[in-house]
């Protein structure tokens, strides 16, 4: 799995539960890729920031 595929799954994981094989490959990639771990956190931050900015 490369970073592009990883970031796609990180996004999709917010709308659906990943299959076991997807989860396994993603976790393996994340364990060696700090940039994708940061991306995962950014995707978690986005709704928090959006709501904080617009809903106070």
């Amino acid at each position: 799995m490369n970073c592009r595929e990883s970031s796609q799954l990180l996004s999709e994981a917010r709308e659906r539960e990943l299959r076991a094989d997807e989860r396994r490959e993603l976790d393996a990639h994340l364990s060696i890729c700090p940039a994708c771990r940061n991306c995962e956190r950014h995707f978690e931050w986005l709704p928090v920031l959006l709501r904080r900015a617009l809903l106070g």
Binding site: S11, A35, C39, L54, L55
Partner: protein
């Protein structure tokens, strides 16, 4: 004024905990904030005005039954959400311009973020809480600017999902898109937003204006 029947969606029923006049004043005080959300969501200033007007009218009518649990703004945003969804549904019945029908299917913007092997060109940085880096008004301005830079459809579905916390299936129904298309649009919106925010927050000095 048009008569709005029934209880506003999300309006709690029961006793009155807030002074009625104070509640009406608070509803009025949130107008600018609601308008900001509606404009970002609809990208049509007149329609946004209409929708906010309708939401506030519904809130005023529901005010006698408002219990005062939770924040008034949260209650108002719940009402606004229904009005926005109604407006989007009404607009979805109109012919969709070719430009917006094709919008969101291109992958050029995502392509540019990765090299040929699918590795980040600019690696996502380690953010600490980015909202603490800027004053509240600047923080909101940056976020609004980044949202406005997104094409309309990805921005809309992103806000339905992440601001209004709608289920994916519901977003698909409102936006009249498939689940696969939704995944693509949300991915595109998230990638563009994280990059836009990072460029403006991380590269701007802390507390910058």
């Amino acid at each position: 004024m048009p008569r709005i029947h029934g209880r506003a969606p999300g309006a709690p029923s029961g006793g009155v905990a807030l002074e009625h006049d104070a509640l009406l004043a608070e509803i009025a005080g949130h107008r600018a904030g609601l308008l900001r959300i509606a404009r970002l969501q609809l990208r049509d200033a007149h329609l946004a005005e209409d929708v906010v007007q309708e939401a506030m009218l519904a809130a005023v009518r529901a005010a006698p039954t408002y219990e005062g649990r939770g924040r008034v703004l949260t209650w108002l945003v719940g009402i606004l959400k229904f009005k926005i969804v109604d407006a989007l549904r009404a607009r979805a019945r109109a012919p969709i311009p070719a430009s917006s029908a094709a919008e969101g299917v291109g992958a050029d913007d995502v392509d540019a973020l990765f090299d040929a092997s699918g590795t980040w060109r600019d690696k996502p940085a380690d953010w600490t809480d980015p909202s603490h880096r800027l004053r509240e008004s600047d923080f909101r301005r940056v976020l609004e600017a980044c949202l406005t830079r997104l094409p309309e459809l990805p921005a809309r579905v992103f806000m339905l999902r992440e601001l209004f916390e709608m289920e994916p299936e519901e977003v698909c129904r409102v936006a009249a898109i498939t689940r696969n298309h939704l995944n693509v649009l949300l991915y595109r919106a998230r990638m563009a937003l994280r990059r836009c925010l990072e460029a403006r927050w991380v590269d701007e000095p802390a507390g910058g204006s």
